[in-house]
């Protein structure tokens, strides 16, 4: 049986055990199910599978988010971002629009009305503003197949027109493509808004169709939502038909109804009709009220102006001295004023002029009174006292002051007036008025005259008095003093009433003594007399005779008189003066460098002088001029000598050595120092001179001399000296082939001369003409000289300074080569150049 079973079902048994094993081993089972799971899921009924999986998927997602939110965020990011972006964008647009509208209307009449409406309805003000300001109408709605751009449906509002909607819808999608392509925009959303003036095209993009609404006016952003809803509904209802749309719109007839709802959307301007009648009545009432108000306002303004003018007038009156305003008022267009006024004060009525207050409206009541204000008192005093012209009345610190001169009668009256004033009124001060009754005046004048006399030097007033209108005076006077009679003039004292008695006397006052001395001594012009500290001093020069006389006068004066000092007058008898001049001349000579005065004397009106003089020193004879010594009386004997004074040595050296410009000779502390650059030859000469001078004890320092650097020049010199100008036989003018040589030579000579000049030396060029031995010697000599002359002329023509060119003819005596061939003789026919520096 078992064998039979083995035979019959052994294969099944092993298969069964394999399956059992498979089911028991979870790993193997999982592998087996895993193989078939995808295809099993695909074949399962979708609804059931979805339901079965939903809880597990939900949990899995939940778990995944808990574990790592990042993963899911990354997955969903591309989906969410555009949606969020769009939503935020719209919200911002909405906010801005609302803000704009609110701002625009906030201060208008509409604004007030809408504020009221907002208060009444409880809506926010911006909502109300938006509601009223967004006047719009959707004129067209196009439903466009997204893929082909073909028109699915088109609805138009009443009165709205457009071109062929089929073309428009295609063009719109073409433009969508165009924008998308042009700006490389990858997003699925299409062109949102196209705006053209008042017209806007809004497009809402759905999966299969785009809804384009053409809106005229100012739509609220919220309208997007509504349009989008319509599009959504269309998609819901006819999703299949839209997807399969192939240009046949018959399947989608129902869509038009939906679009119609879109087109009906509008917000029209409230047009309730203006309440004209009410407006007219209100306007009328307003203008009446306005007119009345204006008129009353105007008259009030005018009255106000009057009152202010009146006030100005009143304050002007109050400012007037002598006017006291007691009361004033403006009532019913009339002005009333009452008060006191001094008769001397300004007339209130006349003050009205210029104030623009109508005098007819002014009612004044003035009581006269006497003002005690100083200026009024002054006026009254002037009127009652009639002061003479010499008296001036003025107000000083509330006091009335009289100044000047007046007869005593007037002064008495003034004093009486002052007494009367004392009670309550200002003080009247007459203390400064001088009594000028005639007697007093005359006495004063006389006293002035007397004191004038007393001040006069040389006049002594002994006595004076006035009696019965006559003046008496007696005293002493020096004859040299001023005349008392003449002093009367200008004093206003009547000379006829003056009786004088003067005794003459000699005043010992220095000035009178001086006058007398001047008169008696006749001092010469060279003497000046002056008074110093009561002493009389004579200064200047005078001959001895005058000095003697002056001395005698001084002796006479000694008793009681001032001292007469003549010690400062020098004796200037002619001999003394001549001797003085001579001495001056001699000292002048002695001060001269290079002049040694050995002896000098003045004898018998003649002057003798002898000594040594350097030939380079100043001429003693010439020095005589200006000394006032008569040259005819001067006898000089001068021996020439060489002064060793460095100044003279330098002069002599400059003359003998002729130093180049680059060398400077100077005297430093008695030594002669030579500084600079010089040619070697000159330095040698200078050194020789230094040696000679050292014997005489004069130091000539040549150590600072440097040899002139002529290295550069030497090259040029060599070039010049090796240049020869050649001539044809018997010719004194060089052939044309020599022109370049001459040109070059001229340039070199000019350059050398210039460089040498810069170095402070003068270069000279010796042009030596030569001839060959052909012909007579005398002819050759003259030919050679002529050749040198020609070259000189040619060089001069080329701009060489002629004074630098020396010429000589050497004939046949200085041949360049021995003369034994044709070549030799042509070489010897030449002009050679040598350069000399000095």
């Amino acid at each position: 049986m078992e064998t039979l079973r083995q035979l019959l079902v052994s294969r099944e048994i092993s298969e069964l055990s394999r399956v059992t094993h498979l089911l028991d081993e979870p790993e193997q089972l999982a592998a087996a199910v895993g193989d078939i799971l995808p295809s099993a899921a695909a074949r399962a009924p979708h609804a059931q599978l979805g339901e079965a999986l939903a809880p597990a998927v939900e949990r899995a997602v939940q778990r995944s988010i808990q574990k790592s939110p990042r993963t899911l965020t990354d997955i969903l990011y591309p989906v969410f971002l555009p949606a969020i972006r769009k939503s935020i964008g719209e919200k911002i647009d909405q906010t801005f629009q609302s803000l704009n509208e609110t701002l625009r209307h906030i201060f208008t009449w509409h604004g007030l009305k809408w504020r009221f409406e907002s208060w009444r309805t409880g809506a926010s003000f911006s909502e109300v503003v938006l509601k009223h300001s967004l006047v719009y109408r959707i004129e067209h709605a196009f439903l466009i197949h997204r893929n082909s751009g073909l028109l699915i449906a088109h609805v138009t509002a009443d009165n709205a027109t457009s071109e062929d909607p089929q073309l428009i819808s295609s063009m719109l999608s073409a433009i969508q493509d165009f924008v998308k392509d042009s700006f490389n925009e990858k997003e699925q959303s299409g062109l949102d808004t196209i705006r053209f003036g008042d017209l806007r095209l809004w497009s809402e993009v759905g999966p299969f169709a785009t809804l384009v609404s053409v809106i005229r006016g100012n739509p609220p952003e919220g309208l997007h939502e509504i349009v989008r809803d319509v599009l959504l509904r269309i998609h819901e209802e006819s999703s299949q038909a839209l997807e399969q749309f192939d240009g046949d719109g018959s399947q989608l007839a129902s869509v038009e109804a939906q679009l119609q709802t879109c087109v009906e959307l509008k917000q029209e301007e409230s047009n309730e009709g203006f309440p004209w009648l009410v407006a007219v009545v209100a306007l009328l009432l307003l203008s009446l009220a306005g007119g009345w108000y204006f008129l009353s306002w105007q008259s009030a303004q005018r009255w106000q102006a009057y009152v202010s003018r009146w006030q100005a007038y009143v304050s002007r009156l109050e400012a007037q001295p002598g006017i006291i305003v007691a009361e004033q008022q403006a009532r019913d267009g009339q002005f009333y004023i009452a008060g006191l006024r001094d008769p001397l004060a300004a007339d209130p009525q006349s003050l009205l002029s210029g104030t623009e207050v109508d005098p007819a409206q002014v009612h004044s009541q003035w009581q006269f009174y006497q003002s005690l204000e100083p200026e009024f008192v002054l006026k009254r005093l002037k009127a009652s006292l009639a002061p003479p012209d010499s008296v001036r009345l003025s107000i000083d610190n509330e006091r009335i002051v009289a100044e000047g001169e007046a007869p005593d009668t007037w002064i008495d009256r003034a004093r009486a007036a002052a007494r009367q004033l004392s009670a309550g009124g200002p003080e009247f001060d007459i203390s400064k008025v001088r009594d000028v009754s005639p007697e007093v005046l005359e006495a004063k004048r006389w006293q002035a005259y007397v004191s004038r006399l007393e001040a006069q030097p040389g006049i002594i007033v002994a006595q004076q008095k006035i009696r019965d209108g006559q003046f008496y005076i007696a005293g002493l006077r020096d004859p040299l003093a001023d005349d008392p009679q003449s002093l009367l003039s200008g004093t206003q004292v009547d000379p006829a009433r003056v009786h004088s008695q003067w005794q003459f006397y000699q005043s010992l006052e220095p000035e009178f003594v001086l006058k007398r001395l001047t008169a008696s001594l006749y001092p010469p012009d060279t003497v000046r007399l002056s008074i110093v500290n009561d002493r009389i001093i004579a200064e200047g020069e005078a001959p001895d005779t005058w000095i003697d006389r002056a001395r005698a006068a001084a002796r006479q004066l000694s008793a009681g008189g001032p001292e007469f000092d003549i010690s400062k007058v020098r004796d200037v008898s002619p001999e003394a003066r001549a001797a003085e001049h001579w001495q001056y001349y001699v000292s002048r000579l002695e001060a001269q460098p290079g002049i040694v005065v050995a002896q000098q004397s003045a004898r018998g009106g003649h002057f003798y002088i002898s000594g040594l003089r350097d030939p380079l020193a100043a001429d003693p004879q010439a020095l005589l001029s200006g000394t006032e010594v008569d040259p005819a009386r001067v006898h000089s004997q001068w021996q020439f000598y060489q002064s060793l004074d460095p100044k003279f040595v330098v002069k002599r050296l400059t003359a003998s050595l002729t130093p180049p410009k680059s060398v400077r000779l100077s005297i430093i502390q008695g030594r002669i120092v030579v500084v600079g650059e010089a040619p070697a030859a000159w330095i040698n000469r200078a050194q020789a001179a230094a040696e000679q001078l050292s014997a005489d004890g004069v130091v000539l320092d040549v150590s600072q001399l440097r040899e002139l650097d002529l290295a550069e020049l030497n090259h040029l010199r060599e070039a010049i000296q090796t240049t020869d100008i050649f001539f044809s036989s018997g010719k004194v003018v060089p052939g044309p082939e020599q022109t370049p040589v001459l040109d070059r030579l001229a340039d070199q000579i000019k350059e050398f001369a210039q460089s040498a000049r810069k170095s402070g030396v003068t270069a000279r060029f010796m042009l030596t003409g030569h001839s060959d031995t052909t012909g007579r010697e005398t002819a050759n000599a003259s030919i050679s000289a002529a050749r040198a002359e020609t070259v000189r002329a040619l060089l001069k023509k080329r701009g060489v300074a002629p004074e630098l060119l020396l010429v000589r003819g050497a004939g046949t005596f200085e041949p360049a080569v021995p003369e034994n061939s044709q070549a030799g003789s042509s070489t010897n026919r030449r002009v050679s150049v040598t350069v000399n520096l000095d």
Partner: protein, 164 residues
């Protein structure tokens, strides 16, 4: 209302615009071609049983085929290929354009128009070549924008092809 999107393709100055100007309804000016790169026109064709509105997308003809915007062809159900019979190169251009469109959107019905048939003296396309194309089963028309020869036939044919 039956409408179909048709694209008109062809090289530069082959006469697409002239064809359209005389035989179709147009509301857009030709400047659209240069600005947007496309101009939309409509040709209503009456078939025995119905009327079809062919919405013609006249794509800017350009020598440089590379700059041709294939995206404009999306959703089209037929093509009008236009060739200038006096310039052989325009045939190549038209065929290249068709290849590009087919590669992008799959095969679609088309008619091939050899335009400027009135310029017989400058004609360069050999009849043999045209016959060859016809033998492929292609709808080939020799048209003249000037005389209007065969233009309506071509559109009629295309309309019937796209509504089958």
């Amino acid at each position: 209302m039956l409408q179909k999107k048709i694209c008109m393709l062809g090289g530069f100055s082959v006469g697409k615009t002239s064809l359209v100007r005389r035989f179709v309804k147009s509301i857009f000016s030709e400047t659209y071609l240069t600005t947007v790169g496309v101009k939309i026109d409509k040709k209503s064709v009456a078939l025995p049983d119905k009327t079809v509105d062919l919405i013609l997308w006249d794509l800017a003809g350009e020598d440089d085929i590379g700059s041709f915007r294939v995206s404009h062809v999306r959703g089209a159900t037929g093509l009008v290929l236009v060739v200038d019979g006096t310039r052989a190169a325009t045939l190549t251009a038209a065929l290249t354009l068709r290849e590009r469109v087919e590669a992008e959107f799959g095969a679609m019905p088309f008619v091939l128009l050899f335009n400027k048939s009135d310029l017989a003296d400058r004609w360069v396309i050999p009849d043999r070549e045209i016959d060859e194309l016809r033998q492929r089963g292609w709808q080939v028309y020799l048209t003249s924008a000037l005389s209007g020869e065969h233009v309506d036939d071509a559109f009629l044919k295309l309309a019937s092809m796209v509504t089958k």
